[in-house]
Amino acid sequence: MSILPQILFILVLGVAGYILYKRVSFLRRNIFLGKKETRNDQTNQRWKTMLLVAFGQKKMFKNFIPAFLHLLIYVAFVIINLEVLEFIIDGLGGSHRIFAPILGSAYGLAMNFFEFLAIAVLISCIAFLIRRNVMKVERFTKPELKGWPAMDANLILVIEIILMMAILTMNATDQILAERGLEKYTLLNGLFFSSMLQPLFIGMNDVTLVFIERFAWWFHIIGILAFAVYVTYSKHLHIFLAFPNTWYSNLKPKGEMKNMPEVTNEVNMMLGIATEAGTETPTEIGRFGAKDINDLSWVNVMNAYSCTECGRCTAECPANLTGKKLSPRKIMMDVRDRAEEVGKSIDAGGPGLEDGKSLLGDYITKEEINACTSCNACVEACPVNIDPLSIILQLRRYVAMEESGTPAQWNAMFQNMETSFSPWKFSPSDRFNWADQVKNEEAK
């Protein structure tokens, strides 16, 4: 017996492993282009959030039908990957269905369950293709999805369908060969779903069937490895990043904006207030707010890589609903695209961040960030706790404090606040006037 397939398998596994390693390093580096931020407090709460939101998909279930279909694919993804373990052992050792004799009848049951999951994935993916391309669910038809993102989404669904077909074809031919008593093939006590495919193959001779069975096996395992690599280029990264992303969720009240201590130092100095750290030389003050991805926190950039472009944020955004340019999903896609651009440039020995472009201006416009009402609907809507609002507000800080480029009406509001301590132009001494009427009434 030839060991050529085993050598080939090791080669395939090695190449895939190497590419994946390079891709993961690239993504990791890109994420850490963002600024340092420590979010390691409340670890119990963080594990709980991850279990509920990522593992338990709690926030998906606001909309039952897509949530249920998505759950089927997700469960299948996790469980069918157990079978991949067998694929790898078989591939390395030259065995065939190595777990079958070990598990006995439980193996047949497991295979039937896997087939059921494969069918569930098939149906779900078809339903999702219909939702995207036939029903044209509104959030899938927004301008930011034109081109590659729409193609990416469809490709993922088609690849999953093909991979599931490969499993079913493999099982169908495998069992015909087992029934014919071929060496190495183990007869299982009937595989319900794949047996329905058997009439397609029953008339074929052994050689053809072995070829189809082997082809399906190789196709499935290479397909899975290739898909894993593809995922690193795709919006589909959420299957892995949803977990760290929810672990590093913002656990504070959503309304709270993060303080800027570098500003506090200056304000205290201006007001003549002694601060605890007042004597220390302030650390080098960078930019106020964010102009590019390196001004954002690494959590913001990880958010962008975790986004699967489902658009639930944009569907809930009051600005987007009323025809403004802002789309929280586009904000996340822009951050990711910019991080990719900078990362690629750095790897090619290019200028990286200094390429004359920036997130604000070349990707995100002021009109978009100015339309935000900071209502947190997008944050609430995200099934994996992405926070587009945090990015929008950091961009606004840059515009206001570095460019003095806020809209004229906001500048007027700033001026009122500076002179009258109110966003409206009223005399501060009139603040208590409302009380006159109450006093008069009570005097009567």
């Binding site: 606001k62 504070k252 009240p253 959503k254 309304g255 709270e256 904006m257 303080n259 800027m260 500003v263 506090t264 304000v267 205290n268 201006m270 007001l271 207030i273 707010g289 009051p318 600005a319 609903l321 009323t322 025809g323 403004k324 340019k325 009109e367 100015n370 339309a371 935000c372 009402t373 900071s374 209502c375 947190n376 609907a377 944050v379 609430e380 507000l393 606004r396 800080r397 840059y398 206001a400 404090m401 806020t406 009406q409 906001w410 007027a412 509001m413 700033f414 606040m417 500076e418 301590f421 966003p423 009223f426 001494s429 603040r431 208590f432 006037n433 409302w434 009380a435 009427q437 109450v438």
Partner: protein, 255 residues
């Protein structure tokens, strides 16, 4: 507050009036209604009057962190000077800022929104509602303010207050965590909206009107303005009123 401090009194709560509550013609009525309730119940409270400045919320949301912190630090100095412990406000933006953002600048207070305070007063039996007032049996809908709801997870207190009025509380399609913004948050109150096909407050008003409610209850000065403008835009001001919670309670108490 200055007077009370001078005579050595320390009030139970500081009522943070806010800029809208001080200057906005419509919201002054809310301030007055809330103060009348406090007086009637006999809560010991003070206001800062001319010593109060904007919390800085709109400046911060518009990106001007310097201006925000200037306002905040000044306010904190005043409040710490009076040793303020507990703050009640009728504005969710002030509520959010003082509660969540002042601690990082040295201002630590117990901060509650007036809907929560009213709920407490009702639960404690201090506010006794007659129940036979003008709202009895009427359909009322409540508009969730973003800075009360999603921002701080206060959804039930305002609803409990409304239910205490013996009315039929009807919910809009988008409510609680899914509540639609009135369009004024994030400093939008102080500028024209960006180009679009519709104003946000119109979208929200249409949803409120679709409930068939005869009154829209709010707990925020900006929401009050936006919803009132929306109702006017739809030419329904004759049969649909927009009220703050405190006004409804004061009306029912006959004050």
């Amino acid at each position: 507050m200055a007077e009370m401090a001078a005579s050595g009194e320390s009030p139970e709560i500081l009522f943070w009036v806010g800029c809208a509550g001080s200057f906005d013609e419509r919201y002054k009525a809310v301030t007055q209604a809330f103060v009348k309730i406090l007086n009637k119940v006999g809560v010991s409270f003070a206001v800062l009057g001319p010593e109060e400045a904007c919390t800085g919320d709109p400046a911060r949301r518009a990106g001007n962190e310097f201006l925000f912190q200037m306002q905040a630090v000044a306010n904190i100095q005043v409040m710490n000077g009076y040793e303020v412990k507990k703050v009640v406000t009728a504005c969710p933006h002030c509520f959010n800022t003082i509660k969540n953002e002042y601690p990082a600048l040295g201002g630590n207070y117990e901060v509650i929104h007036h809907s929560q305070f009213l709920q407490q007063l009702i639960n404690e039996g201090k506010v006794v509602l007659q129940g036979g007032g003008e709202f009895k049996g009427k359909k009322i809908t409540f508009h969730d303010s973003c800075y009360l709801g999603r921002a701080n997870d206060v959804y039930e207190a305002p609803r409990e207050v409304i239910k205490a009025l013996d009315v039929e509380l009807v919910e809009m399609k988008r409510c609680r965590t899914k509540g639609l913004c009135c369009g004024a948050g994030g400093a939008q109150m102080f500028k024209e909206p960006e180009p679009g096909k519709k104003d946000i407050n119109i979208e929200r008003t249409e949803e409120a009107l679709a409930t068939g409610a005869s009154a829209i209850a709010v707990g925020c000065p900006f929401c009050l303005t936006m919803m009132t403008d929306g109702v006017k835009n739809k030419e329904r001001e004759h049969d649909v009123k927009v009220y703050d919670l405190a006004e409804m309670i004061a009306k029912d108490m006959g004050i």
